[in-house]
């Protein structure tokens, strides 16, 4: 059987598993939970077989390379690792509740590949990538990313579980006002051209960073801000995914990876028509409002599952304790590989640097518990920030910044 067929079956299995996990969350029937696990497990086995079949196919095509080297394959492998890590967590902690959060992410990523028409061709490798290190480097890095992904899902639940009230609606109104104001400012400065656009993004980045630093330092005292942060994280994750999905669907037939990068968000936030842009932002505001107002209701749902904050924190910590050594090993294998290819184990190229930044953030997380007064909430904020950095390292650097990893390879 062909690998593509097997991948499709696995995707469908994950879709079914997602439905089962969500029904389990709502109906709390043991049999549903068990089915969910079995379906996930079989999807995972099929996906594993598919990966090996694809590997063999590449040999039949005389290209002979590990199926880990383009955007399609890395996305598939990311979902594979995430399911693996999730299954381990489910087994170790005897809880199926996270499935309702992890499986949708997995299914969406796979569905995204299918609708997006990302090229599934087995393409030959440029000489720089022909190394055994490629396999270890990518494998280890992605397992690490997956562990961080699960940590992120869990700490998002933690933050929610940690909330007592969301504060007065003034918070929401101020936040919406800020979003509207910053978006308008962004368009204005963007229209002003080159440097102004840059200034805007740097300013926005600094502002966000300052807020996160404030949350980590004073988060425990100001829970309503943390709730806003939580709402923003959820809105960002969902919003970006949907916006990119819309892009992909609309550009499906014309887009190569290169042109997709150039036209990102042109069907929504960067559309020619002011009307479409306005609608997009109204949708963002609506999503944010929805998350902010309904978030606590989700919490009551969790209440039935007696999820203790301690346990959520423990899982987050464990996942990061798994992910961080993997990230370390991923960076190291990359460095050793670079040294065998170019004679430089560290070159400060943007991807390297961003993986180091991610490494710093999780190192901060791991040390923060020894600093007096830093408790669960701040730690969770750092863990969320870490995952945002992971996403940027993985996608952002390839799409936004340039360097060796965009596979220019040689001078």
């Amino acid at each position: 059987m062909q690998s593509s067929m097997l991948f499709t079956i696995a995707t469908l299995a994950y879709l079914a598993a997602m439905v089962f996990y969500i029904s389990f969350l709502s109906f709390k029937k043991d049999i549903i939970g068990k089915t969910a696990t079995i379906v996930t497990l079989s999807g995972f086995v099929i996906q594993t077989v598919a990966l090996f079949v694809r590997w063999r196919e590449s040999y039949q095509m005389d290209i002979g390379r590990v199926p880990l080297s383009n955007l399609y394959e890395s996305l598939v492998f990311f979902t594979w690792s995430t399911v693996l890590i999730y299954l381990i967590v489910e087994y170790k902690y005897k809880t199926k509740i996270f499935g309702a959060f992890v499986l949708p992410v997995v299914f969406l990523a796979l569905a995204f590949i299918n609708v997006a028409g990302i090229s599934t061709d087995i393409t030959p490798l440029v000489p720089a990538l022909k190394s055994n290190w490629l396999f270890y480097h990518v494998l280890i890095s992605f397992l690490g990313y997956a562990a961080f992904g699960v940590a992120f899902s869990v700490c998002i639940i933690y933050l929610l579980n940690d909330m007592e009230d969301r504060g007065s609606p003034v918070n929401l109104i101020v936040a919406l006002g800020l979003i509207a104001g910053l978006a308008t400012l962004g368009y204005m400065m963007g229209a002003a051209g080159g440097n102004m656009r840059r200034v805007f993004w740097y300013g926005l980045g600094s502002l966000f960073l300052a807020w996160v630093v404030y949350l980590t330092v004073a988060g425990a005292r100001n829970r309503t801000q943390v709730y806003l942060f939580w709402s923003l994280c959820v809105t960002l994750a969902v919003g970006l995914l949907v916006a990119m999905g819309v892009d992909f669907v609309l550009f499906k037939n014309v887009a190569t990876q290169e042109s997709f990068r150039k036209h990102m968000f042109e069907s929504t936030f960067l559309n020619q028509s002011v009307g479409v842009r306005l609608v997009s932002w109204v949708a963002v505001a609506a999503l944010f409002t929805l998350v902010w107002t309904q978030g606590l209701k989700l919490k009551t749902l969790f209440k039935q599952y007696t999820l203790s904050s301690d346990m959520l924190e423990e899982i987050t910590y464990k996942m990061i304790a798994v992910g961080w050594p993997l990230l370390t090993a991923g960076i190291i294998t990359g460095a050793v590989w670079a040294n065998s290819a170019w004679g430089t184990y560290w070159g400060w190229d943007p991807k390297e640097t961003w993986s180091l930044i991610t490494w710093f953030i999780y190192a901060i997380y791991l040390h923060a518990r020894y600093v007096r007064g830093w408790k669960g909430t701040q730690m969770a904020v750092i863990a969320c920030l870490g995952f945002l950095s992971v996403i940027f390292t993985y996608l952002g650097v390839n799409l936004v910044l340039s360097g060796l990893h965009s596979y220019g390879g040689m001078n």
Partner: protein, 507 residues
């Protein structure tokens, strides 16, 4: 004691300050703050392109911004004094933390296991009391068995009617954090050794040429310091023709051959997408004696006397056409043949077939239509030799017998009307191989650091120092068993193990 008090007060200023510095450098808070700062400033260097040409920067930023960034060192941020200083502070922090804490950890590691009294047992996070009906001897036997079953080797202590079995597991895990920290120090040390005693250079070597120099991107710091201090002259030659400082190798490196392989399409023809670059390099000593040769390719370099040559790029040598190499074999005796080398435009007499062959035309990319046998020439970027092709004229005396095309990858038969075949072997001397050359004596220190950095966190996060005490007291003919224990990590896992041990004893 009053005397002590006086001494305390007389602590010198130096002592107070050094104590303050020590305390500052040994805090985890400093580590966290440094990591935050490093994470934030590292972002800057990824947003501003590093080490670009000044014109490029002026195109992107205003003069004032360029000046500001220049002053702050943002264009080569990771090598500015302040970034290096941050790394230095982190190093100092790590070192002092290790020195500050390790003695305490060592004490825990080496501390002999001692029986605990009521107070001590009560203070432990996990404890359980069991009443055992079979008497103390039986209880002890049972406890010993349970501990052994869980892999605990214990020591016994007896005091009056009380026996205690004391045991621990995973002491080594206390080393994990130190291994991790030391490995980072090793990586920094290795990087420093590399910067002081190593260099990075390049060498563009045309096919057939040799060089005893490589051209430096950066000079070894040690040589520069020694030269500046007037202690030893730097081996680096500053006044070269191209103006780039050169480092003598102490031997010759020659490029015997360079070639690019391309992925082939379904017809077996090259697609133009390179699958491999490779060069054959020979090393000669200064007397011209050949030492060895090696075919290098990307990801597989050559090393001699601590200097490594990496395949990095390639290109055309300006104004050089290169030599065409052909092989002529007789149709009835294909195993033997004559190889000739000639310049484009040049003719040469070939004795074995009594013909003169002239190279009429050369193109780096020729395509033959398999059906019509027509050959078309194409131009390529960077003078890529995707399918080098020559047009040959074959003469008997002054009279042309026929003309034909031969190429590296043949599609369809070349025209060979007489009783011999002319084969294309290669074009040689028209291109150079671009070599990245490095010497890095610190790399093994870095690699040792890398290995430890992979092991350290595993030990730190997944090991756990677990201790167990089992106290057995006689209580009116029955045995009172107290099980108590602690673990420094993975408490949940330990709790499970603890409960299992308790179950085994009481069942």
């Amino acid at each position: 004691m009053p005397g002590g008090q006086v001494l305390e007060n007389q602590k010198g200023l130096v002592e107070i300050i050094s104590e303050k510095i020590w305390k500052f450098l040994s805090s985890v808070k400093l580590a966290v703050v440094l990591l935050i700062i490093l994470a934030i400033v590292s972002v800057i260097g990824t947003l501003i392109a590093q080490n670009e040409a000044p014109e490029q920067y002026l195109r992107e930023y205003s003069q004032a911004t360029v000046n500001l960034f220049e002053t702050l060192g943002f264009f080569d941020m990771y090598h500015t004094w302040w970034f290096v200083f941050l790394l230095f502070l982190l190093t100092a922090n790590l070192t002092v933390c290790t020195l500050d804490r390790f003695p305490h950890t060592w004490k825990i590691i080496t501390a002999p296991l001692k029986p605990l009294g009521d107070e001590g047992l009560k203070a432990l996070p996990f404890k359980k009391e069991i009443t055992f009906k079979g008497g103390t001897d039986k209880a002890e036997e049972r406890a010993a068995k349970a501990l052994a079953a869980h892999g605990y080797r214990f020591i016994e202590s007896r005091e009056g009617g009380t026996a205690q079995l004391i045991t621990q597991k995973g002491v080594y895990s206390r080393f994990g954090v130190y291994i991790t920290h030391i490995s980072i120090l090793l990586v920094f040390t290795g990087a420093l050794i590399g910067a002081f005693f190593g260099f990075k250079a390049f060498l563009n070597l045309p096919e057939g040429e040799a060089s005893k120099f490589v051209y430096l991107r950066n000079e070894p710091m040690w040589d520069r310091i020694m030269a500046t201090l007037g202690i030893a002259a730097s081996p680096v030659i500053q006044n070269t023709q191209g103006g780039v400082p050169a480092m003598p190798l102490g031997y010759y490196v020659r490029c015997d051959n360079f070639d690019v392989d391309y992925y082939l399409d379904a017809m077996g023809m090259p697609t133009g997408m390179p699958s491999e670059y490779h060069s054959t390099l020979s090393i000669f000593d200064l007397e011209g004696q050949k030492i060895f040769d090696k075919r290098i390719r990307v990801n597989d370099p050559l090393t001699h006397h601590g200097v490594t040559f990496y395949q990095s790029s390639y290109g055309a040598v300006p104004d050089r056409a290169g030599k065409v190499i052909l092989k002529i074999v007789l149709k009835n005796n294909p195993s033997e043949g004559e190889t000739i080398t000639l310049d484009p435009g040049q003719a040469q007499y070939v004795r074995s077939i009594d013909r003169t062959i002239r190279v009429l035309n050369f193109a780096p990319y020729g395509v033959r239509d398999p059906a019509t046998r027509q050959v078309a020439f194409y131009h390529t970027d960077n003078n890529e030799f995707i399918n080098p092709t020559v047009e040959l004229g074959v003469y008997q005396g002054q009279k042309q017998v026929f003309s034909t095309f031969v190429m590296k990858h043949e599609a369809g038969e070349p025209v060979m009307p007489e009783n011999y075949i002319i084969r294309f072997v290669g074009v040689w001397g028209a291109r150079y191989t671009g070599l990245q050359v490095t010497k890095d004596p610190g790399v093994w220190v870095v690699y040792t650091g890398f290995i430890l950095l992979c092991i350290g966190p595993l030990i730190a996060f997944f090991g756990s120092h677990k201790k167990l005490w089992v106290r057995i007291q006689d209580h009116k003919g029955q045995a009172m068993i107290t099980v108590a224990g602690s673990a420094n990590r993975n408490r949940i896992g330990f709790e499970r193990e603890f409960n299992a041990v308790v179950d085994d004893i009481s069942k």
